[in-house]
Symmetry: C3
Subunit: 471 residues, 3 copies
C-alpha cells in the first residue's frame, strides 16, 4: 500500500530560490484564522451539531465535483447514491458507493478534488495510505468510526479548522431558523447568512410566481406593485441582517447584464413579470434592473453585493429531469462585462461606499475586462477564481492576468464557495500556498520586495476578505 | 558551420528537479510504438512503397506550415514550387526551391516546424550541421541521395519509426484502392482509413451536388430521399470499415453546431438541400443535423466520431483562386460549444457507448467549455491540441487549462494530424516530452506521486489513443 | 527607511540556468539605442526644451495609469489635481498631491507602474529609499530640485536616455509647429510625427463635422466630395511626412472592421456622413472603408499603417463629463480580426510592399487570430503587447501565444506608447529583459541555440522596429 503524504512544500515552485521564499511567506500566514465569506454549508449543521452520516453520504453523494467525474467515465449516478427526484431507488449502501468511488479514484489525478480529498483523508481522518480499491474498506471503516465520535461533530470541526467566520447562502424566502437558533445559542462560532434572492428576482426560475406570492406573504407587502416588491426586498434584507447577521447579498444570473430603467418603465416591466405576460428579453431585462436595485439597496443598508454570472445551468436535460439541480452539469459560457455593467456603473460605480464583488467563469474576461474595470471604478472589487477555476492553475492564471492591471488591493481574498465542509481548510490552504507561491515568484524575479510580499500574503489571506465583506 | 544537435533534455524544464523527473518518465515511454489515430498521410505511399521524390517535393512543396511562413515574409508561392490550379508554371527546380527555403530558415526560430524539421534532418538523414544558405546544397544532396535508397522507402521508414498503426483520412467517395491493396498485401504495417464525409454533408462544399450524385451511384441508394441518403452513409461507413479497416469518422465543420430535427423536418430540409433551394441558415442546419446522424450511426456501428470545427477555410481569396485549398490560409475563429453541442448531447450525450472526440482551434474554450463538458458527459472526450496549437506552448496551455476540470482520462492522447510523414516521430516525440515535462512539474510541485505520473505517461502516449479510437 | 534597489537580474527567471543565459543575452543589447516608433510624448518638450514643472505635474497629474489606481480605491481625481473640463477647482498644491500618491503607493505592488516609477526614482533622480508616506517630502524635494536643473531638461534627458528616434502622434489637423521648429533647429535629436486622422475619419468623434470643415480649409480641398476628401488625406499625409518626418499612420478604431465598397457606394456613404444623415451602421462602415483607403495610400506613399482597435473609450460617463478623455476609463472589449480585416486583406494583403501593424487589447486573439493571420499575409505584422498588456506577464503571454505560429520576424519590436517621457527607458528595459528572459527559456529548454537567441535579442530590441516603421 502506497503512503499518503501531504508534502510540506506542495504547490510551491520546484525552483529552490522561489520555494524558500514561498515557505517563509507561508509560515507566517498558514495559521491565520479562516475567513469564509461565501459558501454553501448548511447552517443546521452548526445549529444542531449532529453527527455526519456515513463516509459516502458525507463525501460523495452531495459533491458534484466528485460524482460528475465518475459519471463522465460511464458510472451511473444511481450507483453513486445520487437521489432521484421521483424517488426511484438508487444505491443506498454507503460502502458500495465508497468502493465504486475508490475504484475510480485515479480519475482525479491532477485535479483539485484530489488535493482536497487527500487533505481530508490525511489531516481530518489520519489516513496514511492512498485510496485504492484495496484500501477502500479500510478507508470506509476508519472514516465511519471517527464520524461517530464527538470530535467529528460540526462544531468541533469548525473549531479545529480555525474558522473565524463562515457565511452560508440562503434564498429570499428562507426563515433562517438555524441562524436564529445560532443567535440564541451560547456557542461562540460565527455563522452568518447571505441574501440570495434569485428565486424572486429571476422570472425564469422554476416556480417563480409561487415564490413571489410567498415573498409577499412573508413581508406583508403588495408584491404585485413595483414599490411593494422593492419594499419586500428591503424587509428581507433587514431580516437577513438581523436574524442571519448577513453582511452581503449574492446574485447568480445567466449574464452580468444590468439595466437602469425609468421608474415608469420599471413599473410596466414588473407588471408584465407579475402577470406572466413576458415579452422577448423581459426576463433578462428584469434581472438586469434588479442588479441595479440591489446596488441601490446596498448603498442604503451597507451590504456588500456579489455577482456570480455566466453559468449555463442544468445543461444536461436528462440529468436535470431525473436528479434535479447541481448535478455537475452546469457549464460556463462566454460572459461580457463591459457593456453589461455599464448601466449599474453609470448610476453607482463612482461611489466608494458601494462594494460590488464580481466573479467570472470566463477567464478571458480577467485581463480584458475585469481587471481594467476594477482598476478604475471605486465600487468594484474582483472575487477570487470561481468554481472550475478554484484550482492551482486557475489561481495562477488569475494572478497572472489580474494583478498587473487591478493590483492586489482590488481583489477580496479567497472564497471556498463549497458545501463540502470538511474540505474547507484544504481549499483555503491551496489558496494560501498558491498566493505565497505567486508572491515568491515576484520576489525571486525582483518585482516585489520581501516586506511587501509579507504584507500582501496576510492581506490576501485575511484582511481583504474581512474588509470587502465587512466581517 | 554550426553543429545541429538534438539535446537529449530538450523541452524539459530547466529546473534540475523537474528535469530529472521528466527524464525518468520519458525514458520509460519514449520507445513505445507510435499510435497515429488521425492524420493525412497518403495510403498509396504504403501500398506502393515507391521512393519519395526530391527533398523540396517531399519537405517543402506540400507542407503549408512551411511555405506559409516564407510567404508571410514576401516569398512568392510560385518560387517555392506550389502548383497553380490553372497549370501556369512555377519553380520546378527542387534545388532552387531548397535554397530559397534555406535562405529563410531563420524565420522558423521558436516554431514547432523548426523542432520537427531539425529532427528530420538529424535523425532521419543524419545531418550534423545546421541548415543555412551555406549548407543548403549539402543538405539537398545528402537528403536526395538517401531518398533514393531502399531504406528510405515508405514501408522501411514506417518500420524504422516504430509505427504500430496509422490512420489516414479519405472522403466519402473514395474507393480506398490503396487500403484495399494493403489489405491484400502481406506487409504487416497497419494502415487504416477514416471516414470523412464533408463533401457530401456540407452543402457549401465546392461541387457538393456532383459529389452527392456520385454518392448515390457508389451506394446504389436514392440519395434524393433523406432515408436513402442516410442509408448511403451507412453503406459507405461499412465499406470504410471493411476495406479501410476504419474505426473512426471525422467531421470538419465551420462550427460545432448540432441539431436534432424531427424526421419530417429533416426530410424537408434535405429536399431543399438536394434541390439547391437553400434558405438562410439551411446549410448550417444541415451540417448540424448530420453530426447528430453521424453520432446515431456511431452508436450503431461502433465508430468513434471526431469533430474538428472552427477553421475559417481559404481566407485568402487570391491564394485560393490561384493555388486552391490547404495553402496556409485557413484561420481559426471563435468557436462556441456549449449551446452548439446541446442537441446532439441531449440525444446521445449520456450514452457511454458513444465516443465523440472534440477538437478546437479556439483555446478560450479549453477551460470555459470543453473541460467542463468532457468532465461531465460520458460520450465526450477531448482531442489533443490541434494544428496551430500542436506545439510546446500549445500543449502546455492545453494541460494547464484542461486537466484540472476534465482530468487526464477524458483526453485521448496525441494526434500528429499530418501529411508530413517524415515528421511523425518528431511530432510524437514533442508530445511525449511535453507530457512528461507537465507530469514532472506536477510531481515536483507535489501534486502527483511518481507512480501515478508513470502510469499517466504511458496512458497519454499509448493507451488512451488505442482505447478512444478502438485501435 | 527601506532601501530602493533595482536588482540587476530583475525580471529574469529565478532558475539559475535560465538566468545566466538571460544575463548574457541582455548584456549585449541593454545599451542599444532606444527606437520608440509609437508614443504620445509632446513634441513641444523637445522643440522648446523648457524645464518640466513640479513632480506631481510631471509624474501623477497626466498619467492615467497612476491616478486610475488611486481612483479605484476611492481617492477623488480632484484631490490628485486632475483638471476639470469646466475649470472648477482641483488640488493645485503639488506637494499635497504627491503626499496622497505616496500614501497609496502600495496599491501599485505587482504592477508595471511600480517597475517604471521605481526606475525613474532610482535611475533618473538617484533616490535610494522606497517611496512611503514618510519619504514623500524627501522625494518631492529631491525631484523638484533636479527638475529645475539643465540636466533634466527634455533634450538632456533625451540624450541621456539614448534615444535614437522617437515618434509622437498628432491629429490630422495639427500644423506640427513643434516638429517644424525641430526641423529647423540644429539639435540632433530625432523626433518624428505620426498621422492619426481619427477625428476626421470617425463620424462618432466629438465635433467630427467641425473637424471635417477645418480639414477642407487646411488642405484647400472640397471635403464635401469623396474624391476631395481623399485628396485632403493625401495632402495631410504628405505634410506629415515633409514637416513631421512621419513614416507611419495610426488608427484607433472601436473595432478592426475594414470594408471595400465600390467607388459609387463610397460616394453615397460619404455623402450621408458629410450631411449628417447617418443610417445604422454607417459610422462603422465609414471607418472600415477608411482603413482600406489608408492602406491604399500607404502603398502610394510608403507609410507604415498601425491599427489600434478595441478600446471602449470613456466608459465612465461621469468621469468623461467632468474630466474628459484619457482618464483611465477606457476598457478593452472582445475584438474580432478574421472577418473584420478580410476586405482590406482581399485588396492589399498579398502585397509585401505594404506594412499593416496590428495591435490588440484582446489577448484571446493572439493565438487564435493574429498569429495565424500574420503567419500568412505578407502585408501584416504584429505590434507588441499594448496598454494593459505592456507588462511582464503581458509580454510573456504575447511570446507564448504568438511566436510558435507567427515566429519572431512577423513582429515589430517594442512600442512604449507613452506620454510619460521619464519612464521610456524603464519601459524599453522591461521589454528587453522580458525578451531576453523568454529567449533564455527557449535556449535552456533546448528549443533555440544561443547564436539564434543572440540575433533575435538584437532584432527584437532594434532591427525589427527600424524595419517595420522605416525609421
Amino acid at each position: 500500500m502506497a503512503t499518503l503524504t501531504l508534502h510540506p512544500d506542495r504547490l510551491f515552485s520546484a525552483d529552490p530560490g522561489e520555494r524558500g521564499i514561498a515557505r517563509a511567506l507561508y509560515k507566517d500566514i498558514k495559521d491565520l484564522p479562516i475567513v469564509s465569506p461565501h459558501g454553501h454549508t448548511d447552517p443546521a449543521w452548526f445549529a444542531h451539531n449532529e453527527a455526519f452520516p456515513n463516509p459516502a453520504e458525507l463525501l460523495i453523494v452531495p459533491d458534484h465535483y466528485v460524482f460528475r467525474m465518475l459519471y463522465s467515465q460511464g458510472v451511473a449516478l444511481e450507483d453513486l447514491g445520487v437521489p432521484t427526484l421521483d424517488g426511484s431507488p438508487v444505491e443506498s449502501d454507503g460502502r458500495r458507493i465508497w468502493q465504486r468511488f475508490a475504484a475510480h479514484y485515479h480519475l482525479f489525478r491532477g485535479t483539485p478534488s484530489e488535493l482536497w480529498l487527500n487533505w481530508v483523508f490525511a489531516e481530518v481522518f489520519g489516513l496514511d495510505t492512498t485510496l485504492t480499491p484495496d484500501t477502500a474498506d479500510l478507508y470506509y471503516d476508519t472514516i465511519a468510526e471517527q464520524l461517530s465520535s464527538p470530535a467529528f461533530r460540526p462544531r468541533a470541526l469548525f473549531e479545529r479548522f480555525g474558522i473565524e467566520v463562515i457565511a452560508t447562502t440562503e434564498g429570499a424566502l428562507d426563515e433562517l431558523p438555524a441562524h436564529r437558533a445560532l443567535g440564541e445559542d451560547d456557542w461562540t462560532g460565527r455563522v452568518v447568512s447571505t441574501y440570495r434572492p434569485d428565486s424572486v428576482v429571476d422570472p425564469d426560475y422554476e416556480g417563480f410566481r409561487d415564490e413571489l406570492a410567498r415573498f409577499g406573504e412573508l413581508t406583508d407587502e403588495d408584491v404585485g406593485s413595483w414599490k411593494g416588491y422593492l419594499n419586500a426586498h428591503r424587509k428581507r434584507r433587514a431580516y437577513f441582517r438581523d436574524v442571519g447577521r448577513a453582511t452581503a447579498t449574492d446574485h447568480g444570473h445567466p449574464t452580468a447584464r444590468t439595466a437602469n430603467l425609468s421608474e415608469r418603465n420599471c413599473e410596466k416591466l414588473f407588471a408584465r413579470v407579475v402577470e406572466g405576460r413576458l415579452e422577448d428579453g423581459d426576463a433578462e431585462t428584469f434581472r438586469a434592473q434588479m442588479l441595479t436595485e440591489m446596488a441601490r439597496m446596498s448603498l442604503e443598508d451597507g451590504m456588500a453585493m456579489q455577482i456570480h454570472p455566466g453559468a449555463r445551468r442544468n445543461h444536461n436535460e436528462h440529468v436535470f429531469a431525473r436528479f434535479g439541480r447541481d448535478k455537475g452539469a452546469d457549464i460556463p459560457s462566454a460572459t461580457e462585462y463591459v457593456e453589461a455593467l455599464k448601466p449599474l456603473l453609470d448610476e453607482f460605480g463612482n461611489n466608494p461606499a458601494l462594494t460590488v464583488i464580481l466573479f467570472t467563469l470566463d477567464e478571458d474576461s480577467y485581463s480584458r475586462e475585469l481587471a481594467p474595470l476594477a482598476g478604475h471604478y471605486p465600487a468594484l472589487r474582483l472575487g477570487p477564481p470561481w468554481w472550475f477555476h478554484d484550482s492551482p492553475e486557475g489561481m495562477r492564471r488569475y494572478r497572472e492576468r489580474i494583478s498587473e492591471t487591478a493590483g492586489f488591493y482590488n481583489t477580496v481574498g479567497f472564497n471556498d464557495d463549497t458545501r463540502a465542509f470538511l474540505s474547507i481548510p484544504a481549499r483555503h490552504d491551496v489558496a494560501r500556498r498558491m498566493d505565497c507561491a505567486w508572491l515568491a515568484k515576484l520576489v525571486a524575479d525582483h518585482r516585489l520586495d520581501e516586506t511587501a510580499a509579507s504584507e500582501l500574503a496576510r492581506a490576501l489571506t485575511y484582511d481583504l476578505a474581512k474588509q470587502a465583506y465587512k466581517l
